[in-house]
Amino acid sequence: MVEYERHDYDVIVIGAGGAGLRAAIEASARGARTALICKSLLGKAHTVMAEGGIAAALGNVWPQDNWRVHFRDTMRGGKMLNNWRMAQLHAQEAPDRVNELEEWGALFDRTDDGRILQRDFGGHRYARLAHVGDRTGLELIRTLQQHAVHNGIDVFMECTVSRLLKDGDRVSGAVAYWRESGNLLVFNAKSTVLATGGTGKAFAVTSNSWEYTGDGHALAYWAGAELIDMECVQFHPTGMVWPPSVRGILVTEGVRGDGGTLRNSDSERFMFNYIPDFFAAETADTIEEADAWYEDKVNNRRTPDLLPRDEVARAINSEVKAGRGSPHGGVFLDIASRRSTEYIRRRLPSMYHQFKQLADVDITAQPMEVGPTMHYIMGGIRVDADTAATTVPGLYAAGECAGGMHGANRLGGNSLSDLVVFGRRAGLGAAEDAAAQTSAPEADDAQVEEIVADMRAPFERDGAEGPYDIQRDLQETMHNLVGIIRTESELLEARERIDGFKGRAANVGVYGHQQYNPGWHLAMDLQALLTVSEATARAANVRQESRGGHTRDDYPGPNDAEWGTKNVVIRQGADGEMEVTTSPLPEMPADLQELFEE
């Protein structure tokens, strides 16, 4: 019989970034006994790295802005693959959530008349991102953290969930371990919220932190839930490219929002050569118009430097391939020649700091070198838009690990707003569900024993291959074969290699103690990484078109008739194998469809 700490709650929330914190705050406010479980210390989650801002149609800078415009931008940015209801709720509720952050102590940058200032970002028709310089994520997580600690939420820090428990069809809790000691915990919960973020650590070049091993996606999948759009991965156009050790670290889109431009080795502003038909009507085609747009949005169209991220990332990729890249394999991002030193240091303090310290580059005097980096996964756990319920009873999901909101490509700034809008809804949904349960769940010992045996198995194989090489090989494979440009032969090869990695991971060995042993932790994280990698590789092969963040060399361009109307769906089959199917997109009501007819 294994020994473990037992904890009983109404609601457990797994993950303590913006979505998890907001979910826990809401569940607790609705009277649910709530636990918040996170792999890191509180306040360190990946949300902290968000830079540019939080998108909300407050209309403080451009009164013409409203939720309909934001909704339309979001759907078009997502190449219409978004769940329309999620995009609608998001656009409608984001302003309330931003104002709520201010009520809880956040200090956003101000307009001249003392309101929340908003900045330009890619794909947004108006300056829409509330922000704090270029450290908006830190402000968001700290505000929520400081609000949460006074709300009677129990926080389990440096505690990793390995598997969800089930009682019949319903998720009934989770098995976890303390990273510090390796000791086990069993949570019995009436409902469970997943808010674990993304899958970036499956890729060699990423802006994501170590925690992004796809835990929530995998936990849900193993528990029988459906994943959608797993092929839709966002490569942010501007990550650092040099020095090698910082390759992939994010350079905020705010640099372009505040006037920075992309140039190739011929000093050409190459984005003018990459304006797609889909956005031609709303994009400036001359340098004069693009530069005038920053000041006058009514009479000018948006600079192509601020096309949605998928478009810009592909353009950079093409320039580098054509031999017009920068010395270290990126392109130049120049704000030094366009804005004053004082302006740059005030608007982009952490970018200044980051380049100065890590790359010996002074961004007020020199251009930056940037290139695409895996940044975000649009795909995720299928949820009901209004309640954040997954396809498995008792299980909810919000934030990056949930799918549908962003379609095939996410607009910058829509992630932070997603976290608080749907974090709140998930906390609400989970609390109401828990209140409706008549009996408290009780963990099934046989399930617990089986899970724990799996967790500890790597210690039995001392001397076998360790986890680090497997992770590195997986990251190289995903980067090279399931990256920014994809093709069938490579995707099939990726699947074969992933099968090989699964074999190696099943025999992975670790040695030493259970106390804060990173090798053991990685050995367990590999299970989730491999599951989400396989899901992305399989889904990418099924969608035979190019749409948003999913680009097929062998199927260039979108195929609206065949693929524009469906999601790719992943679930675990009865035989334990991964199944890939499709299902029709929910149909948008006529009054919203009208917004796209202008």
Binding site: S40, L41, G43, K44, A45, H46, V48, M49, N99, E103, W104, G105, L107, D109, R110, D113, G114, R115, I116, G133, R135, L138, E139, R142, Q146, H147, V149, H150, V155, M157, E180, S209, W210, E211, W242, P243, P244, S245, V246, L250, H353, Q354, Q357, L358, A359, G466, P467, Y468, D469, R472, V510, Y511, G512, H513, Q515, Y516, N517, P518, G519, W520
Partner: protein
């Protein structure tokens, strides 16, 4: 071009521990955390280290490098002479868990004791107005990434752990000052600053300011103004007399 780094890393737990030497291949532009990761991947898979963003934004990878409190992810290897031995030790002020990981729970406990932000009523339209110049100081304080290096280096608790129950430390003086200067906040925390948080213990040696990776002027902008406000309220003889005579 690869060079070899000579690393001396503390390995051990709460009971015992010792320095361990590692010779590690490194690449151009690397930081100390890269080298620690390489040790993990090639020589010591169980080497415990806490980290998250590797971009100076989360404040997880605090350590003492050649005796200096720093973030491992923002300390470039080219800061040191080629071939120089580089020591990496856990933060001294916190109880050791293992290797480079310490128990920083003290800080999370102190955070709970600071009363929440309590805003005044909003404007008629339900939102607030604040001027940029009135929030700039608060924004400086909110740059804090909670790396706890200021706490680690503060000799009030570093050299005298017995002070921990009555001293909140620089990070929380920054938090108190931030709330105190917040244009919307209505809560009074000066009594807390004076009594339970023990701002009076600080004798302004500025060690905290020197190690802050966010370059927050902890002493000048947070602690001294906080001390002044406490002094004005509790130790100003005219105010004291006034409060006795007029009862306020």
């Amino acid at each position: 071009m690869s060079e070899t780094a000579n690393m001396r890393v503390f390995r051990g737990d709460a009971e015992s521990g010792d320095w361990q030497d590692y010779s590690v291949e490194m690449e151009e532009g690397q930081v100390v955390l890269d080298v620690i990761h390489r040790i993990q991947a090639t020589q010591a898979p169980d080497l415990a280290v806490r980290w998250n963003c590797k971009a100076g934004k989360c404040g997880s990878c605090s350590a003492e490098i050649n005796g200096e409190p720093r973030l491992m992810c923002m300390t470039r290897m080219n800061l040191f002479e080629p071939g120089e031995q580089i020591t990496v030790a856990p933060m001294k002020t916190w109880p050791l868990i293992r290797d480079l990981v310490t128990d920083v729970s003290f800080n999370y406990e102190v955070a709970k004791t600071i009363p929440a932000f309590k805003p005044r009523a909003p404007e008629a339209d339900g939102t607030y107005r604040m001027m940029q110049e009135d929030i700039e100081r608060g924004q400086e304080f909110r740059k804090c990434i909670e790396c706890f290096l200021c706490q680690n280096v503060c000799h009030v608790i570093r050299d005298h752990p017995e002070n921990k129950p009555e001293f909140a430390g620089p990070r929380f003086f920054v938090r108190l000052a931030e709330l105190e200067m917040h244009p919307l906040d209505t809560e009074d925390r000066l009594e807390l600053a004076r009594k339970d948080a023990g701002v009076g213990y600080c004798n302004i040696t500025k060690c905290c300011t020197e190690v802050c990776p966010e370059e927050i002027h902890i002493t000048d902008n947070a602690i001294i103004p906080l001390k002044e406000r406490v002094a004005d309220r509790y130790f100003d003889p005219i105010r004291w007399l006034g409060s006795k005579i007029f009862g306020r």
